[in-house]
Symmetry: C2
Subunit: 384 residues, 2 copies
């Protein structure tokens, strides 16, 4: 055949640092990273900060300015962009273009940095803008919520919503560094503190029964904002998530997305609720539904399914919601199933459980069993 073959591999490497008070003058972690990464040129750094973080830490821009004041290899862009926290920053292209225009205005080149401080949504937004400006500016993530520190912030995806669809525009673009600063966790609302725990439950359920057992033992401590327990949870969850990405198909070029246990319905509920149900809260409901389905379809023991719903409840999660109710084949959440099939690429791959700590893929969900699963969760919920 008359053709030329092209084949190459691209190597990606980054560290996820765990620290406290990242911008305290005495904390060397960020400066050390920049020194180790610096080449022959002066690099710029532009900060995008979550408005939610600014509310609790109004002095942050000044702190950052001081922190970088004696680093000659770096030019800090003094003007920092404040992006509205939560999904709203991803629901319009406005903030995306605001970052892109800042790249132009401040002359941020491909080897300079865009650093984002905030929850998963602001990190997704800034990561996407960084990934496509000049075909990719170096991106640093400073996740400030449980959810972003243990899951989305340590991974390789970014994106914004478009046409009302979650992450319709986005890319796979590894950050150059992630700084998980635990001190931000103390100022989270109870809902935000709790919200990210569901991703840890998810990864434990499909990969690590000992971790699920640990969460079960520490559910009360976690619900009561015990910082040591939360730090352990975040590190373990981040490690499992990163192993999954690095050891598998980081850019999801194959057809399966096995980490997404409990997510197919969660995405739809978030959207239907106009994001008043947080991602982590929706994931807890999605885990409950898919655990019930795993039980009712004969894959999982009833005791295990009850255990899972019990742990979610002990953590403070609601396991059901009117928007999650499945009454017939036309139920709104079932529409999410088709959209998810499309987003994945044609063939549906849904992760279910054959045991605690063991995920198993399936390619079809039965509507009748889904209706019974939804009823089973609602009935569990009403008794607890």
């Amino acid at each position: 055949m008359n053709h030329l073959q092209q084949a190459f591999s691209v190597r990606f490497e980054y560290n996820v640092f765990f620290t406290h008070k990242l911008f305290e003058p005495s904390n060397p972690v960020f400066r050390d990273f920049l020194r180790s990464a610096s080449g022959e040129t002066t690099k710029k750094i532009f900060f995008v900060i979550d408005s939610g973080v600014m509310e609790h830490h109004p002095g942050l821009p000044d702190q950052i300015t001081k922190y970088f004041s004696d680093l000659p290899s770096l030019t800090l862009i003094k003007e920092m962009m404040i992006a509205p926290g939560g999904e709203s920053c991803k629901n319009t292209e406005q903030y995306f273009y605001e970052i892109v225009r800042a790249v132009d205005r401040f002359g941020i080149d491909r080897h300079s940095y865009i650093a984002a401080i905030g929850g998963g949504a602001v990190l997704d937004l800034a990561g996407y803008a960084a990934a496509v400006s000049h075909r990719g500016i170096r991106h640093i993530r400073i996740p400030t919520t449980v959810l972003s520190q243990n899951d989305s912030g340590v991974g390789v995806k970014n994106g914004i919503n478009y046409l009302g669809k979650k992450n319709f525009l986005g890319s796979f673009a590894p950050p150059v560094a992630v700084f998980n600063d635990f001190s931000y966790l103390t100022t989270l609302s109870d809902a935000d503190w709790r919200s990210g725990i569901s991703e840890a439950v998810k990864v434990a359920l499909i990969k690590d029964s000992a971790f699920f057992e640990w969460i079960k033992q520490h559910a009360a401590a976690l619900a009561n904002r015990d910082m040591d327990a939360m730090q352990y949870l975040i590190k373990r969850c981040a490690a499992l998530h990163m192993e999954h990405i690095g050891g598998g198909d980081p850019f999801e070029m194959g057809s399966s997305r096995p980490l997404d246990f409990g997510h197919w319905s969660a995405h739809k509920v978030e959207q239907l609720s106009e994001f008043s149900v947080k991602h982590g809260e929706a994931v807890a409901m999605g885990i409950a539904l898919d655990s019930a389905y795993s039980f009712l379809s004969g894959m999982l023991k009833e005791k295990d399914a009850r255990d899972i719903l019990g742990v979610l409840t002990a953590l403070g999660f609601a396991v059901s919601h009117p928007l999650m109710d499945i009454r017939d084949g036309e139920s709104p959440v079932l529409k999410g199933l088709n959209e998810f099939r499309e987003h994945l690429g044609g063939r549906l791959t849904i992760m279910l459980l054959s045991a605690i700590g063991r995920g198993e893929e399936t390619h079809e969900l039965d509507t009748d069993t889904l209706i019974r699963s939804s009823q089973w969760v609602a009935s569990f919920s009403s008794k607890h």
Copy 2:
């Protein structure tokens, strides 16, 4: 130190096929590719066609429809998008969003295809829209110009212009296949036929003196639209370009872009001319300028510099243009040098020549020598 390390490699593979009359029912190349790539699901394919191609091949959509009529594993989206050919399709976000909305409307999933037929600009546009829709839809390129068949179309970059800057938004996203259909070359204008040859001259000058010698011997044949000569030129140039990408730094994460000989001034002239000077024409002028600079800075023999300008002239290229004139440090084209530095990432890396077939990088250009180089090219031009 308290951190987790992430490290992984992502493998990319694709073939560049050389063929004639790709959509003739009897041509198996495209169908064979789709069969070999098909998995368990029916895939969709959506076509974006260059308006310039449509002008000369108005029956193309019908041909495509017939070609795919007996392929059960594929669903052809009957509605095809016509995008204006040339840089204008990249100068606004309008066509980008038109493709993204088509992805939504027709339910194009991540494992379906967006196929683009046209010149480099339309391929860049469609490649970018494909790369960020659903975080990356499979992209097929069918380049129809000399420039796209031997250079941009076989590579891994895409993009659109923003804020008047070329490729300000874009990504590195390898296609899944490239089909170089030589039959499209017969309907090109003389300017489009010629335009892409300058990229072959470029790659020959920095990598392959024997290829430059071949171009020199065949300059008249190429200028007279000899098809055999052109096919050889395209294959050799594509192979050299692909070797460079695959063997080097495909996503340009390092600081240098050594294939860009002659390009720093070319980009600026295209923009200053509002794209009335074609990319390939601008590159020919850029090659002339940088060859002159290589000579006047003592790196290259005068005979070689004259040879290069002679070959460009014999191919029908203008080697100078009022917009390329450098009279002082404020000359418009010098502004391009700073923009290029920014786009590259801080440190300027310019390729010059130490001999025909041997590129050599430098990190500074001297303004006085640039002024003399510009004069030298103008004086050569006025005598030939």
